[in-house]
Amino acid sequence: MSYFKELWDGIRTTAQGLRLTGGYLTKKGVYTIQYPEETLPIDKVTHRGIHEYDVDRCISCENCAKACPVDCIYIESAPDEKGKPSKGKAAIMTRFDIDYSKCLFCGLCVPPCPSECIQLGERYSLPGHTRDDMVVHFHEGGYPIQEKTEHAKSMIAEFRTENLYEKKRKERADRGIPTLRPAE
């Protein structure tokens, strides 16, 4: 007898489940999206994707490289008159590479930056065939920054009044370092 009871229990509970899933046939609402034609909305302020970086405002202080747990930021700047790597507002970056085969996207490099010229952006796709493809050379333009903070905006204004953008761009052109950033 218990055989039939168990059989009946199986049929009954399965029918309950089927009723539930069947109910979704008529319910409205989409839960899947067709990637890559459609993508999920991304929060522009908080999303931790590939970095955005402003090569002109960077003062080559290396705070970001020191804060990075995996040491995946490589920084070099052109020598100044004394032959030492240039620092401060006049710094000319000759190398600012981030190795994304190592990066954790943790965001620890963002808060220590005094000029707020590095932040995590909204891009997330960086396919490549070799390890070298994973290294992004930000000093060549890389991904320009989208300003998010008041402090950054005020710094830009300061840079403009001192005409530093023009100066740096000219100097970089003289040294043969390309810039992707369009002239303002």
């Binding site: 399965t14 489940g17 539930l20 899933t21 839960y31 999303h47 943790c106 965001g107 620890l108 932040q119």
Partner: protein, 401 residues
Amino acid sequence: MSATHPGSGGYIVPTRDVASEELVLNMGPQHPATHGVLRVAVKTDGEVVLDCEPMVGNIHRCKEKIAENVTYVQFMPYTDRLDYLAAMNNEECYARAAEKLLGLKLPERIEYLRVIFAEAGRISSHLMSIGTYGLDVGAITPFLYCFREREEANHLFEKISGGRMLYHYMRIGGVARDPDDAWIQRLLQFLDQVEEKMDEYNTLMTWNKLFQERTMNIGVLSREKALAFGITGPALRASGIDWDCRRDDPYGIYDRFKWEVPVADGKHGTLGDCWNRHYIRALEMKQSISIVRQAIDKMPKANPDELPPPESPHKPFLAKGVPRSLQAPKGAEVYVRSENPRGELAFYMVSDGGKSPYRVKVRGPSFCNIALLPEVTRGYLLSDLVAIIGSIDIVLGEVDR
């Protein structure tokens, strides 16, 4: 001469009439039912498991060595990658361990945020384990339904922390960002949604006869064995032991909330079987929902004297007086544990006065729980092995560290 093995569902397993031979089978490390890269060497006789040995270490990354080479703050993102399905809970435990070592005091609001996020992380993690457990025993629909809810949790966490899986939200002495009211409202909606859908999962899985046949009386873990093997979390409570370190050894502010610790009573199935482990998880989610609601109700506003708003959206939301460069006193040691979705995670940290810890030991709950696999699988059928591994609910990132 024949014998009935426990869990063979009454099937007669011949032992003498038919010549049979022992066979060593290799399951994994690429087997989808091993929840990662677990390799199990199974000694079988026909379909019956005689013995098995889990072989771990395939994704060993020597996190403990890394911790000795990075600073306290820099180790935080690595803790996400221990139990990657419950990253919030790992971070919370590590943050508390580091704060205790460094002697930091937390403002009220941060304490409440810790509870809210840890419990929301538990809900999201249990959604995953319930869903994939369905997949293990052959039910695909609950998996899709659970992921629908988990997706919303991912959205919520992404909005606040920037990451969908590896959040890096908790910081030593604070959190990454203070949630606004809109976010809290959305979290409450998410809780309502999960609470409503819980019945669906129970209809589809817990009370389904076919599911019960696959999981009831399978992989029975007795009280004594559970204790002796140091099992923690839902697996311990499914064996009928009333222990939850959130309630019995409260850390943080857990003593301010009222909730019930679900403990299996053996009304359905056998105490300590797969079904009970699954059901305890389902019940725990309900309790977590209640804790989050209580915490949101009681959470105070930030007091700018002890918890100043960050200067820019890039900066973390930290308590006042958290030094930028953290250094623990020489010779200080802590052992801090917390109730993770999979059991008790603990950090043992020793400092030598430097900027990085001298020694960090991670006691992963999955590591201890998987050690018992041979004990619970002996005598069951090979197909039950999958059900048992799924019900113990391990995450290999934490087993291998």
